[in-house]
Amino acid sequence: MPAARLAPSRRLVYRTRAWSTGVELMVTDPSCLVGATTILHDEIERMDLLASRFRAHSEISRVNRGAGSEVRVSAGFVELMAVADRVARATGGAVDPTVGAALCRLGYDRDFAAIADGVVGELPSPAPVAGWRSVEIDVVAGTVTIPPGAALDLGATAKALTADRVADAVARRLGCGVLVSLGGDVAVAGSPPPEGFSVGVGTHWSETDPPVAVSIRSGGLATSGISARSWRLGRSVVHHLLDPMTGLPVAPCWSTVAVAASSCVDANAASTAAVVKGASAVSWLESLGLSARLVAVDGSVSLAAGWPDDDAVTGPESGASR
């Protein structure tokens, strides 16, 4: 892991990198920072051993290699699968853990840094993924079975769950307010600063001057979109958010969708599902009471369920937008 550095400011933000993206940790009490970074790195390593498709000996790799047969897994992996199952169920299958094989067909079968410059190949024909309901989890025996030819990808859930766990553990064990951001998937816990945790919302997680900033006091905030983690596949440009019905990148509708929810897992599930759902996303988010900011591919902005107005709002859509 690259060397980490402390930001030279009184905000006490610890920054490092993992999973081809940036990791940021902020605590409200300076004396908690060292302990918090230890918790952060332990949890990232733990999750990596469970859910990295690119580590040969991770549990997800063993399950994918054993597709078609029962694979014994740890309690931690069963728990992760239970979260992925809940997310799939709650999003009506829009966020599906069985998109792994489809991502591999698009060339995303190794760390993203290795494919960022493009891969050789052609866009495959549409084919639905195996589907989350085809995954069998035997909690008592501690086994997971996926259909032959299927592969899991838990990227959508694992990163957000890690942020939630780190924030929860830091607040509980060290007793301070904390913000954790894993590539823009943000979780907060403990007592927030009086003004709340200020989070910029932009196109890319590393933006230094995001167009919007909101204050959150609990739960999580996540942004999904098609404007990053895209690569060239032969003559096509593809990205990592797939439609489970086709196994191909979702049709462009929203460039980015930011959602605040009761946890980072829920925020990430909702923001990812919104990108997949396309035009129906605003009404879906409204029906769940989830505050969200959606930026269409033409740059227009829609807001849902009480997301605060901002100067950049120009929007096209229904009553929820402006």
């Binding site: 951001s181 816990a189 932009g202 196109t203 890319h204 995001p210 900033a213 929810a261 505050s291």
Partner: protein, 124 residues
């Protein structure tokens, strides 16, 4: 005043035997009732827990993909009972994600920030 006839040893034994038999009968009835009640309560508790933690419903590998939009019934199979155990242990292990089956909003919606952002949320 009428004179009381002293009970013979035989009649005393008969009465004692009758009382013992009646007591044993009551005890037997009580034991059967407790047994039946235990089975009924255990059954009701199993049904309640099955519904409280619907969990994952195992299906065959030939099942339709989720995106096809078919629904999954919660709860009566052995696998769903198993997953109830998982859900419970996941919570006790400190999972901070919502244990609700749906996605839930934050306690407080985001507000316009009054200070510069500490971090940015964006696509990664």
């Amino acid at each position: 005043m009428a004179q009381l006839t002293p009970a013979t040893a035989a009649s005393v034994n008969r009465r004692a035997k009758a009382r013992r038999d009646a007591g044993l009968n009551r005890l037997s009835t009580a034991t059967r009732s407790v047994g039946v009640a235990t089975v009924v309560v255990a059954g009701l508790l199993a049904v309640y827990l099955g519904r409280a933690f619907p969990g994952h419903h195992a299906t065959s590998s030939a099942a339709a993909p989720a995106s096809a939009g078919t629904s999954v019934s919660a709860g009566t199979s052995a696998s769903s009972t198993s997953t109830a155990t998982s859900t419970g242990s996941a919570s006790s292990a400190g999972t901070t994600g919502s244990t609700s089956q749906s996605i839930t909003p934050a306690t407080q919606p985001p507000a316009r920030a009054t200070t510069p952002p500490v971090v940015s949320s964006g696509v990664s």
